[in-house]
């Protein structure tokens, strides 16, 4: 069996009778048990997956069987899967068992897919390396001395290591795309609202989005088609309309924003992305330099809005309803209990962001920080809207550098934040955005993947996937 199998490979193999779903589930479970000791991408392994796969074998051939029948997958540990632990990478939820299924899980269940386990992440999705996981960091399968990216680092590493054909991640400021780029896989953040977030632990509600991490763009599309759509349990969710596939690469206008190729970008990463853009050019696409004038302020806007919303969302972890239990003999009153549970249950980065958000929302500072950030957010969105009047898609690097080493950025939070500099703007503007691998660069003798990021206008997710697929097909032919 090759190292990684796509969803399409699996479907072909099963259709031809070369493998059964239960054989596949056993194969993956065994591989994870053997090889994940070195990677640490899983926090929980679902042993009952085999029973579910046997059911899938029986269902095969039945009329109307699910689109993803028998396909194994992994779930970032901030999405609820009924009766499985759900920790969000935090001590405060270390022993928490989910009471219900997230909508995405319900939909994937219905399509026949099989959960293999829950993946590691930065605590409450706050981080860019999985080093903020309260348990242990995940390693990059391409070089285990380096981080897989984050916060969906476990999901990206699991797909890259061939432990699952696809995984779910969540993306608030780049948490699907940045680890996908570092691990050399495809990571897709859909339009804000295109996938229901019911059952996803909220971090920053105006930014959070669930999406797939896969080996190919085609696989990302298959998963997206199953999980997307309006859900009455999430009032922010929307139904995307079908669109006419009336474009081909010759009609494509690609915008290259100069702000994303400026100082701070690794020259080799830059070259790889420009080479990828050349592939489109050779297919007949038109390339235009554009400007997203306020893009350099994205990260500053993000580091006001995200902590503000997170400080409010994380108020629910109060030690009363569920989660960490601290023996209470010497606890003096309710306030003291809150301070103890939250002070001890949350890690450093989460505490930092909760306090930051509490401060920027507090009386007297709200206008100077939160309101100001919302205004600049509006300007960033307008910049994108204006750009999309001239071009169909925008292409940039996903990250300024390839995967960095463990410990390289943990001493200075701002340095860590900067690894999301190109990704956060898509969340601020609510745009669909996909990271596609465009080859590798060599650093200290290791070959490290590079990702290119393609942005499309809101609700043009299917078109975005088409554009990404054109590149993938062209490169595979070469």
């Amino acid at each position: 069996m090759p190292d990684t199998l796509t969803i399409k490979d699996i479907k072909n193999n099963v259709e031809k009778g070369d493998a059964t779903y239960s054989e596949l589930a056993s194969f993956y479970l065994a591989r994870i048990k053997d090889k994940d000791r070195d990677i640490n991408s899983f926090l929980y392994l679902n042993e009952s997956a085999l029973d579910r796969a046997k059911e899938a074998d029986a269902e095969l051939g039945n009329p109307g069987f699910g689109e993803l029948l028998g396909i194994p997958y992994a779930v970032k540990d901030n999405m609820l899967v009924k009766d499985m632990p759900c920790t969000a990478g935090s001590k405060i939820l270390e022993n928490y068992i989910a009471v219900y299924n997230a909508t995405v899980i319900e939909k994937l269940n219905k399509a026949g897919a099989v959960v293999l386990g829950k993946t590691n992440m930065d605590e409450f999705a706050m981080g860019s390396s999985t080093e903020n996981s309260a348990f242990a960091p995940t390693k990059n399968p391409h070089d285990t001395s380096r981080v897989p990216g984050g916060s969906s680092g476990g999901s990206a590493a699991a797909v890259a290591a061939g432990f699952v054909p696809f995984a779910l991640g969540s993306d608030t400021g780049g948490s699907i795309r940045q680890p996908a780029a570092f691990c050399g896989v495809v990571g897709f953040k859909p339009t804000y609202g295109a996938v229901s977030r019911y059952g996803l632990m909220a971090m920053a509600s105006s930014l959070d989005q669930i999406g797939p991490i896969t080996n190919t763009v085609q696989d990302a599309r298959e998963v997206f088609d199953v999980i997307s759509g309006r859900d009455e349990m999430d009032s922010t969710s929307i139904q995307l309309e079908e669109y006419a596939r009336d474009k081909d690469p010759k009609d494509l206008k690609i915008g290259i924003p100069k702000e994303y190729f400026a100082e701070g970008l690794d020259p080799e990463v830059k070259k790889k992305v420009l080479d990828a853009i050349d592939v489109y050019k050779k297919m007949g696409a038109q390339i235009k330099e554009i400007s997203i004038k306020h893009a350099p302020y994205s990260l500053a806007v993000y580091y006001i809005i995200m902590p503000s919303e997170a400080s409010s969302n994380l108020a629910r972890y109060d030690g009363v309803k569920y989660g960490l239990r601290i023996e209470d003999k010497d606890t003096d009153g309710l306030m003291d209990m809150y301070l103890k549970v939250r002070g001890q249950g949350f890690g450093q980065e989460v505490l930092r962001r909760i306090m930051l958000g509490t401060y920027t929302l507090s009386a007297g500072y709200y206008d100077a920080y939160y309101l100001k950030a919302q205004k600049v957010r509006n300007l960033i969105e307008e910049d994108f809207d204006r750009a999309f009047e001239k071009v169909d898609v925008i292409i940039s690097p996903t990250t300024p550098t390839p995967a960095f080493k463990f410990g390289e950025k943990t001493q200075d939070p701002l340095q860590m934040y900067l690894s999301d500099i190109y990704t956060v703007s898509a969340n601020l503007a609510g745009l669909p955005c996909i990271s596609v691998p465009v080859g590798t660069v060599e650093k200290d003798g290791a070959k490290l993947p590079v990702g290119m990021q393609i942005f499309a206008p809101r609700k043009r997710d299917h078109f975005l996937l088409d554009v990404a697929e054109w590149y993938e097909k062209e490169v595979n032919q070469e």
Binding site: G333, R342, Y359, P413
Partner: protein, 104 residues
């Protein structure tokens, strides 16, 4: 904005997170560094610009407040599941510390 230890302690109290005395300095420095970074937004002219709270043009909608009676078994199942997750429980209730402490 440079935060003092006193202010960090106040923020921590507002946020209901207990920060040990010897860590206040650390957080004062870290939070001040991030605030210094985000204050670059002051360079941007935002006169007459509307704040943007969400990107999809959401409006609040209200539905009728009608009671929905769940199936008895289902209800018992949910109650059991929720109770089993309570850190401190007394019969079917969550047990919490008294609102007033000895100090009050």
């Amino acid at each position: 904005m440079k935060l003092t230890k006193v202010l960090v302690k106040h923020i921590a109290q507002l946020a209901r997170v207990g920060i040990p005395q010897d860590k206040l300095d650390y957080y004062a420095q870290e939070l001040s560094a991030v605030l210094k970074y985000v204050e670059q937004l002051n360079e941007v002219d935002t006169k007459n610009i509307e704040p943007k709270a969400n990107v999809v043009g959401l409006v609040s909608v209200f539905r009728e407040d009608v009671q929905r009676i769940a199936d008895e078994n289902e209800r018992a199942g949910v109650v059991k599941a929720l109770i089993s997750r309570l850190p401190f429980v007394q019969k079917n209730f969550a047990r919490v510390k008294s609102v007033f402490s000895k100090e009050d």
